[in-house]
Structures are given as structure tokens and as C-alpha cells.
């Protein structure tokens, strides 16, 4: 459950989500995470901790990787937001998804959407990361299942494939 937003009126907030312009009626302090999940039914973005530690709620906001549980929706006004559901056209998605499946990068799957977004964000900036870069790039996304090894392997594999393609 979410922290109660202050008793202030709902207002209209406009932003772009996965390429579509959206207008939502929300308390300005409502968490972007809840607006995405409950209001817009984009449930691929997950809540793990509600305090910006686990990264399961990662989304891209104007190209930045953010924890949507820490973003008041008012702050997203006018922004361009991309969630896991809006990533399918991204050139990195198919190689990453395939590599995650082949290498065992997803186990329970709850951290996976956030992890994949973090990986996309990393590979966009650094197309051929060393393992140390991958570790650093994913350090904001916790995974309790894999011990991360197979995630590192998947990200490295996706990067190699993209270079080869």
C-alpha cells in the first residue's frame, strides 16, 4: 500500500507513456509507479520495496533510469516515460530478451522488467561494457534469485550479438 498523498485536490497531468500522450487525473504527490500500474494498467513495472532500493519499478523518464516509486507524478508532467511494455521496438530488446532466456537471467521474474530496462539503459550508453561496467550498471537493481551471474552473462551476450549484427 502507498503512503497517503497529502490532502490536496487531484489535478490533470499530461505526459507521454510508451509513445502515447496520456492525461491522468491524480494527486500531484501520487507515486508514478501507482499511476502506471493502477491508472494505466501497465503492470509490467513492479513494486519491490517502495523506497528506491530494489529497482523493480525502474522506468525510463526522459531517457533516465528512475525508480518510479520515488517519483511524484507531478514531477513526470510533460515527460516522456517508457515502461517495459513500450520497449518492444527498441533494437536492444530482442537480443536482451533472448539472452536472458538462454542464460537463465530470469528466475522468478519479478526483478526482470526493471533489470532489462537497466540493461537497455546501460547498453545504450556503453555498447560493449566490460563485466565491471555491467555490475556497476545493474547495481541499482536487486535480484534475490540468480546471484546475478547469469544476468551478467545475458547482458554481455546481448551486447556481443548487437555488435555482430
Amino acid at each position: 500500500m502507498n503512503p497517503s498523498p497529502p490532502a490536496m485536490a487531484k489535478s490533470e497531468i499530461l505526459f507521454t507513456v510508451n509513445g502515447d500522450e496520456k492525461t491522468v487525473l491524480a494527486h500531484p504527490m501520487e507515486r508514478l509507479l501507482d499511476v502506471l500500474r493502477n491508472g494505466l494498467k501497465l503492470t509490467g513495472t513492479k513494486e519491490g520495496c517502495g523506497e528506491g532500493e530494489c529497482g523493480s519499478c525502474s522506468v525510463l523518464l526522459d531517457g533516465m533510469l528512475v525508480n518510479s516509486c520515488l517519483v511524484p507524478v507531478a514531477q513526470a508532467s510533460g515527460a516522456n516515460i517508457v515502461t517495459i511494455e513500450g520497449m518492444s521496438a527498441h533494437a536492444l530488446m530482442a537480443p536482451l530478451q533472448e539472452a536472458f532466456l538462454e542464460c537463465g537471467g530470469a528466475q522468478c521474474g519479478i526483478c526482470t522488467p526493471g533489470m532489462i530496462l537497466a540493461a537497455v539503459h546501460l547498453l545504450d550508453k556503453n555498447p560493449q561494457p566490460a563485466i565491471a561496467d555491467i555490475r556497476e550498471g545493474l547495481a541499482g537493481n536487486l535480484c534475490r534469485c540468480t546471484g546475478y551471474m547469469q544476468i551478467f552473462e545475458a547482458v554481455a551476450k546481448a551486447a556481443r550479438r548487437r555488435v555482430a549484427a
Binding site: M1, E51, C111, L142, C145, F152
Partner: protein, 755 residues
């Protein structure tokens, strides 16, 4: 049948695509028309009598659904083993965060305010916080002696060995509570109507545990309770017993309101109120010969069960049986008990008692090595169990396990000897001391002793007229690969491609009770039943025209169509049959404790930084024998994940208690390993095979939890010569110990890192 090699191949995870696209549906992703949100009002005292409950007038209580113990139609307990844990406390509370009252409302914000507007007054009762206080029995908080369960294992004449011993080695070891920290918190949705009864959709491991608990609580017959497992975002034992509690709460609110009710814990509630790994204390007194052979010993193992019995007796059992490690004990006496404290009940967590008692055993082995004057490697070689010898419960090792070979491989793969030599040299001139440590261990697969016999698991496989095959089990997927591995086994048995076999979502109206998804039993025991049920389909079809030899999927489809046209349906069931040669005596705690053991030797390399007081694991070799590896990628993932949790158990994850309540119930201050904290975890398998499992598979899921902590603490001692006997070992513990003892002088007194 055509020759297939689906078993042993790294086929992709069945539900993998849904997980990498974000399409997988976890319980919080689902909503229903008219849904209400439920919340729990909990105790804020460790022990006391409830005097009064008051409701602040600032809230319009008419808008809320309110449930107390009086609203429970059946028995006010969470049915499990002893049925001592109430669903809602009515007169007394026995731990902080104990559920007392339930509220539901359509608006989650109003709900949160309402929870805060309930105040409960208590008449305090004296609490018990530690195992030691509980053992003193000056305050009795459970039963007549604060003891949930005790076991005694006896082998040979221990009392006779002390006078023969060249050395008597004593040690006392402690392990702390550990939070499972699945990334998806506990959550359920419940719905109720008079015709169908109660339905619960939830994040859970054991659909039939919840089913049993709801029948007792709601006073409903079997067919009026339905439990459906949703995609589950991690569990690790943490969703073994607790889902029965949260499902019970949601069901009561749904029954009272007539509307569907969703309860999703936030992280703080999940951490503060739900189960953790049992804290433990182990005392060893070991008699050894001059050359380091174990003559016998006494082991006392005590775990803190928290306020109610829940699963403590079973956790204790596994800890008891594993307490002697993979060694031959000519004689031994193992006394163990689970005691009550006024903390939330401790519960299932990967390893289930074994990581605790094995931590002690493997630290004790290094201690024995020091006393005898041989290396940690040599002390283990001299005491390893061999085929034909018996374990502490006098189980004859029938598997052709060669622990020396596992050890040799692990030493070679970790470059142990060369590193050991190099570190001794380099440590002299560096504030960053390096060390290397080993742990050898075993883990029994399946339920202990006669457990599988009582479970009496049933598994189904069905095919439709188009030849689509579906596996029917209550075994849940929560990341380990249940779906994938069971489909591989069925596909192989039927000579079909992996894609031709699906698995049903665990739903008690659809799947039979194949037992709980626990105890590393799914691949080995349920897998074997899936194999046999699938073969039943094949046998049926060969009688109605399927070629007895090779056939194509088209021929299989045609045969299914033909059979179903006549008989209407095609299903095959297989029930567990206990192997004839397995004997277990529950009274004497003697006999074949497990149908099979997995075996392992792990090697950890660490750096202890004497400036920053940190321990970093630099390299980790995990070498194990787990029988046939059914899916190498998934199996390796089980090991790396378990090792990561083991590293957390050893070095990061500390539950801070204050008056029986977890103080650091946030991911900000309860620290699990991140992607930058872990070493390369290098995984290696030996495959000996096992007659009791599908294709020779043994259990694998829990094994990797057992070895990392002792290997790491052994490595820390190797690096700095301080004998830590307690985990977690945090920088402040290191600081405190080194403040007292200079690292250059080997300290022989044990240091209890956590008080």
C-alpha cells in the same frame, strides 16, 4: 518412442517469455470488479493480554469492513502441524506484529489512516527474547517448558570415547535470523460466494497447505475452498507457511463483505511481520585421535522458534540430521531443541535448519584441524563418509559418492594450494589480508524420514484430442524452474518435443495434491511421478494404436484423438510409493533419513581489509554432486542464487532485534548482496545418478545455502587468525574483535559477532 534428449538440455524456461516482456501476472497485477483492499491491525507489544480496542472518532467506521476473531466461522488457528497459532489474536498476544483485527475499504489511502486510528490497550506480560532466557524456564510462554520439540540421536557409546581421545575439541557457534527477501512481497486476493465458497489467488509455494488452513478456518468442505497460485516473485521458503495466514485474513474479509479483497503487504510489513530463518546456537564437543580421526562427540543444537510452533519441529529435524556433516562418526549423541521466544514465528527458509547446524560443523572441523595440527583439507579427508559407512542416524551410504574426488576437484579449480602459499607470503606486508576456506557438506533431498510416505503425493498428466499434453501438479514455480523441468521430464517420457508439453497453473480444482513445493523434492520426487504418469499415457495409447517403437508427434496426436473420441478423456495419475528399502524410526530418530543426499565442497577466497574492516569474497568455487542435472542452465542458476544468499547470510544480512521486533525492516538497512558485492560464482557438477529420482536427479535447491557461510568464515580465519564463531559477520563485529585482538596474533578465544 523416438530417442530424445530433452532431459539434460538447457531448454528455455516455460514461462520465460512472459517474464522478460513484463506480461507475467503476479497477484498484485490482477484486479476484480468491486475489489476492496484489506489491512491488518497488529500488536505492538511482545506479550500481553488485550484489555480494550478503541476506534478513533475521526474515522467513519461505517465505511469499513471490520473482522475480529469473533467473525471466524471455523477454528481460530492456522492449521499446519500443532494448530497453536491463531489467525487473529483474541485475548492474548505472544509476539509483536501479531494480527488482531482486519479492516477493508475500497480506498487504500483511507484504509491506511484507519489502521492508524485503532488503538489497543494491553496488560503486559513478561516476555522472553532469547533462547537462553527461554531455556531457563523462569517465565513459561509456551506449553509447560517453552520447548516446541526436541530430538535425541544416539549412535555407539559416546561416553566411552572421551578417555581414548588424544584431543577433545569444544566450540560454540551462532547463526542469526535471515530474511528471505523475495522481491515480491506476500499478497493474495480472496473472493467468496455461498455457491462456490472461498477462492484465493496468491503468491505462494504450497497450494494445498493454504487449502487445508482455509477449510479449518472457514469451516468449509474441500470442494468449497479453491486456491490458485499466481506467478510468484520469489519465495525461498518464505511463502511456505505464511501465505496460509494472509489468505485466511483476506478470506475472512471477503466472507464478511461479500466482495473480493486484496491484501498486499508493503516491504516494511512483510519484513517485520512474516517468518525468517531460525536463529541457532550449536555446541560441539568432539573426541579425536592423535591424527585427527573423529572418535565421537556430542552436539547440542538449539533453534529459536519464535512464539508459535509452526514449522519449527521440521526445521529442527533437518538441522539435527545434518549436524554431523558429511563425516563418519563412530559414535555421537545429538541433542536438539526448538524453543519459544516472544518474536514472530521463525519459519522455512532455503536449507531449513541445515545451514545452521552445518555452519557449526564446518567451523568445528577447522578448529579440530588447528588443535590436531593438520590442514583443513587433511582433517576432512580423514573423516569423510565413504560408501558403506553409516551417517549419524545410521543410514548406510549406498550411493557411490567419492568426497575425496569432489574435494580434489574443488581444490584444483580454486587453485587452493598455490593461493594458500601466496597469501601467507603477501599477507605479511599488507593491510589487505587474503584467506581461503573450504566447506564440505551434504543435503538430504525430499521430506525427512517417513515424511514422503505421509505426503502420499499424487501427480497427473493429461492429453487432449489434439495431442496437447499437460502436467498436473500442485508444485509451484517461483523461479527454481519447476515448470520447465517437469515439462522436460514429461516430454522425454512421451517422446514429444519440449514445446508439446505444458503445465497447468496450480489450482486446487485442477491439479492433484503433489505435495508442497519445499525440501528440494520437486525435481526428484515429483519429477519421478511425472515421468511415471507420462509413461501411463504412453502405455494407454500403445494399447489403442500408437506404434510401440518410434512415432511422430502427428502419430501421437492421431492416437490421442482416436482414444478420446471413444473414451472422452485421457489422463494418467501416479502416486508416490515408498522405496521398499527405506526404513525410518521416528521414535529413535534412526534409519534412512533421506532417499538421497546431494554432496558438495565449496571454496571461498576472501580479502579482509584491516583499514575499512570489510570482508570481500573474491572468488567462489561451488563443486557439487546432485545426480543427473536435468537442465544445466537452471541448475547452475539454483547454485549461484543459493551461494549469493549464503554470502548474504555470512557477511551482510543482520536482523536487528529490539524487544522481539525487527528494527531494520527495510531494504535500506537490511542489506542483501547487490551486483557489485558478489565474486564470480563458479559452478561445477558431478553426476553420479540416484535410483530414486527422475533420470537420477537429486534435490538441488537448498544445497547451495549450506556451504558459503562456513567456507567464508574459515577463509576469514585463514586471513587474519581470528576465530569468529557467529554470523552474520559485519564490519562492526570485525572492528570490535580487532580492537581487542591484534590481527598478527592468532586469537584462540571464540568471538561472538552478534550478541
Amino acid at each position: 518412442m523416438a530417442v530424445h534428449h530433452i532431459v539434460g538440455a538447457s531448454v528455455p524456461r516455460k514461462e520465460g517469455w512472459d517474464k522478460v516482456t513484463g506480461a507475467a501476472r503476479y497477484v498484485d497485477d490482477v484486479t476484480l470488479p468491486d475489489i476492496l483492499y484489506g489491512a491488518t491491525v497488529r500488536s505492538n507489544v511482545p506479550r500481553g493480554k488485550i484489555k480494550s480496542i478503541s476506534f478513533a472518532p475521526t474515522v467513519n467506521w461505517n465505511e469499513f469492513i471490520l473482522v475480529t476473531a469473533k467473525d471466524i466461522p471455523g477454528k481460530n488457528c492456522i492449521a499446519l502441524i500443532l494448530d497453536d497459532q491463531p489467525c487473529l489474536a483474541s485475548e492474548t498476544v505472544n509476539h509483536s506484529e501479531e494480527p488482531i483485527l482486519l479492516l477493508a475499504h475500497a480506498d487504500p489511502h483511507k484504509l491506511r489512516k484507519a489502521v492508524e486510528a485503532v488503538s489497543i490497550e494491553y496488560e503486559p506480560l513478561p516476555p522472553v527474547y532469547t533462547m537462553e532466557e527461554s531455556e531457563q524456564q523462569s517465565t513459561i510462554i509456551w506449553g509447560t517448558d517453552n520447548t516446541f520439540k526436541s530430538y535425541l540421536v544416539e549412535k555407539g557409546d559416546v561416553d566411552a570415547v572421551w578417555k581414548e581421545a588424544a584431543h577433545i575439541v569444544e566450540g560454540e557457534y551462532f547463526t542469526g535470523a535471515q530474511e528471505q527477501l523475495y522481491i515480491e512481497n506476500n499478497g493474495v486476493i480472496a473472493a467468496y460466494d455461498t455457491e462456490n465458497g472461498v477462492t484465493v489467488w496468491g503468491s505462494l509455494q504450497c497450494p494445498y497447505y493454504v487449502h487445508k488452513a482455509l477449510m479449518a478456518l472457514c469451516g468449509l468442505p474441500e470442494n468449497k475452498v479453491r486456491v490458485v497460485q499466481m506467478e510468484t516473485g520469489g519465495a525461498f521458503g518464505g511463502k511456505e507457511e505464511y501465505p496460509s495466514m494472509i489468505a485466511a485474513h483476506a478470506a475472512l474479509l471477503a466472507m464478511k463483505s461479500g466482495k473480493p479483497v486484496k491484501i498486499i503487504y508493503d516491504r516494511m510489513e512483510d519484513m517485520v511481520a512474516t517468518t525468517k530463518r531460525h536463529p541457532s546456537r550449536t555446541r560441539h564437543r568432539t573426541a579425536v585421535t592423535k591424527d585427527g580421526r573423529i572418535l565421537g562427540g556430542e552436539i547440542e543444537f538449539t533453534i529459536d522458534g519464535g512464539a508459535y510452533a509452526t514449522l519449527s519441529s521440521v526445521v529442527l529435524s533437518r538441522g539435527t540430521i545434518h549436524a554431523g556433516g558429511p563425516y563418519y562418526w563412530p559414535s555421537v549423541r545429538i541433542r536438539t531443541k526448538a524453543v519459544a521466544t516472544n518474536a514472530p514465528p521463525h519459519g522455512a527458509f532455503r536449507g531449513f535448519g541445515a545451514p545452521q547446524s552445518l555452519f557449526a560443523m564446518e567451523r568445528q572441523m577447522d578448529r579440530i584441524a588447528q588443535v590436531v595440527g593438520v590442514s583443513p583439507v587433511e582433517i576432512r579427508r580423514r573423516n569423510f563418509l565413504r560408501p558403506g559407512q553409516t551417517t549419524t542416524t545410521q543410514q548406510v551410504i549406498r550411493e557411490q559418492i567419492d568426497l575425496h574426488h569432489l574435494l580434489d576437484r574443488a581444490l584444483k579449480l580454486s587453485d587452493y594450494a598455490a593461493k594458500k602459499k601466496r597469501f601467507t607470503q603477501e599477507n605479511k606486508s599488507s593491510a589487505r589480508k587474503k584467506g581461503i576456506g573450504i566447506a564440505a557438506f551434504l543435503h538430504g533431498a525430499g521430506f525427512t524420514g517417513s515424511g514422503e510416505r505421509y505426503l502420499n503425493s499424487l501427480v497427473g498428466v493429461e492429453a487432449d484430442a489434439k495431442g496437447h499434453v499437460r502436467v498436473l501438479v500442485s508444485s509451484a514455480e517461483f523461479g527454481q524452474g519447476t515448470n520447465t523441468v517437469l515439462c522436460q521430464i514429461a516430454a522425454e517420457a512421451l517422446g514429444l518435443p519440449y514445446e508439446g508439453v505444458a503445465i497447468a497453473q496450480p489450482d486446487t480444482t485442477v491439479v492433484p495434491n503433489s505435495g508442497p513445493t519445499v525440501a528440494s523434492r520437486t525435481a526428484m520426487i515429483v519429477g519421478k511421478l511425472v515421468q511415471s504418469a507420462a509413461k501411463g499415457i504412453w502405455q494407454t495409447l500403445t494399447k489403442s494404436g500408437l506404434p510401440a517403437g518410434d512415432y511422430t508427434p502427428e502419430e501421437f496426436r492421431a492416437a490421442c484423438g482416436k482414444y478420446i473420441a471413444v473414451h472422452g478423456m485421457l489422463k494418467s495419475y501416479s502416486r508416490y510409493e515408498a522405496p521398499g528399502d527405506v526404513f525410518w524410526d521416528d521414535e529413535k530418530y534412526r534409519g534412512e533419513a533421506y532417499a538421497a543426499f546431494a554432496w558438495a565442497v565449496y571454496v571461498a577466497e576472501v580479502t579482509v581489509d584491516l583499514t575499512a574492516y570489510t570482508v570481500t569474497v573474491d572468488d567462489f568455487v561451488a563443486m557439487q554432486e546432485v545426480g543427473k542435472v536435468l537442465n544445466p542452465v537452471l541448475a547452475a542458476g539454483q547454485i549461484t542464487g543459493g551461494v549469493a544468499q549464503g554470502i548474504g547470510f555470512a557477511l551482510y544480512e543482520k536482523v536487528v532485534w529490539q524487544n522481539g521486533r525487527m528494527l531494520n525492516n527495510q531494504m535500506t538497512n537490511y542489506i542483501m548482496p547487490t551486483s557489485v558485492d558478489l565474486p564470480p560464482i563458479r559452478v561445477f557438477f558431478e553426476e553420479l545418478g540416484n535410483v530414486h529420482g527422475a533420470h537420477g536427479a537429486k534435490g538441488i535447491g537448498e544445497l547451495p545455502m549450506d556451504g558459503p557461510a562456513p567456507a567464508i568464515l574459515n577463509a576469514v580465519e585463514d586471513a587474519i587468525g581470528v576465530r569468529f564463531c557467529s554470523i552474520p559477520l559485519l564490519p562492526e563485529d570485525l572492528f570490535e574483535a580487532l580492537r581487542v585482538h591484534s590481527p598478527e596474533q592468532a586469537v584462540s578465544s571464540p568471538v561472538r559477532g552478534t550478541a
